[in-house]
């Protein structure tokens, strides 16, 4: 076929029917407070790594809920585990445990 230079983009719409509840239950067992995130963004605002990289705990949590596990792992990948976000999180989430659990459960090698 002649290449006219057009491409079809895959849909960027999230299909929540694909949500992996079992995997998420594993995560919420390891860190039950993940359920409490209110998406306030304090973690990202205070993140040591976030100034230089795409680190965001808020987006990591939301990516999991939006069935984008790869993005979730990416948002957690550059975390230094410094714990600043634990200090600011208004829901007192054990953020470091959550970040580690996300990598463990959703990372490539489980």
């Amino acid at each position: 076929m002649i290449d006219f230079g057009y491409t079809l983009n895959p849909s960027s719409r999230i299909n929540l029917d694909n949500f992996d509840r079992n995997k998420f239950e594993k995560l919420s067992k390891s860190e039950p407070d993940v359920l409490l995130c209110i998406g306030c963004g304090s973690c990202t605002a205070s993140c040591t790594a976030g100034k230089y990289t795409d680190t965001s705990l808020r987006k990591a949590i939301l990516s999991i809920l939006d069935c984008n596990e790869k993005a979730a792992v990416d948002f957690a990948a550059s975390c230094l585990l410094c714990g600043k976000c634990t200090l600011v999180c208004p829901r007192s989430i054990n953020t470091r445990n959550l970040l580690l659990s996300i990598t463990k459960i959703y990372g490539k090698k489980q």
Binding site: R13, I14, N15, L16, D17, F19, R58, K59, L62, L65
Partner: protein
Amino acid sequence: MKHANKNIVIIGGGPCGMEAAYRLKNEGMNVILVEKGPSLGGHLACWDRLFPESIKADDLLDILKNNISDVNCFLNTEIIKMNLRNDAYDIELSNGITVLARAVLFATGFDIFPAEKKEEYGYGIYNKVITNKDLEQYFKTGKDERIPANPKNIGFIHCVGSRDEKIGNRQCSKVCCATAVKQACEIKERFPDANVYSFYMDLRMFGRHYEDLYYKAQHECGVRFIRGRVSEISENKEGKLIVKAEDTLMGKPIKITMDLVVLMAGMKNSEAGIKTAGQLAVLRDDDGFFNSEDSFYNLEKSAYRGIFFAGTCLGPKTIPETINEARSAVLSIKEYVESFAND
């Protein structure tokens, strides 16, 4: 000395009218409660459990009813005519009785926004779309053909008929966020295997203990809150619902198949109340609710002598707020009636 006129007509037998009737009776007034429907209770009689503590609506209803067992209540009755005559209102009721009332309290309450007007959500078209009111009815009776035996995905849609200029209601209905969160917990208790979603724009958990309810919905019930207004609902071949919205926190459109969708229909001023008030040309605000003399210090007073308001005919509010407003109106009515004794 002329016999003092202590006749007070209360229009509407919901929580507001019932509480006002009880307190006015205790103040020695001669109360006539006029309710257009076949029973007392207003919307309270439609609810199963009340937020935030989940107390039984019927328990509160019983208290309010018992308080006024000796008050003159006319059910299935409406106001036919109301005219001001010598500092009193000459009122003709549909049951043939006429009253010369010193004061009139509008406790005419609210109407639920007719959800079918928001056509893109398919209420009345798709079988699996119900309203908050329908769900309360189901909780009360355990019966609703539309609710499947084993729903997998259940969605709550906030702000239906509220915060929406397109359907003519700009205001927030105030009670539906708390209702949605309460009902999300309750449905999760009934169907523990279901995934429960709530589509909100802002979560207005303003009252005492409401934030705890939100916390419970997240932590104990695992309700997923998605910030974004649902744009449309459609039905697929299997009769399931396809819901579309944006997760505005991630900036991505989402789509999900639902087995049941519950619409948080909002509050508007009662049509019947508006009709009765129309006889006096009572003024209403942009939002359709009645206008107080002022909104800080004289909330329960109207622009007319002897005409008072309380409860949800003055705007969306909770039952405790309604009851407090009823009591405050009673105080003002009493002062008003007593001002004639010194004439």
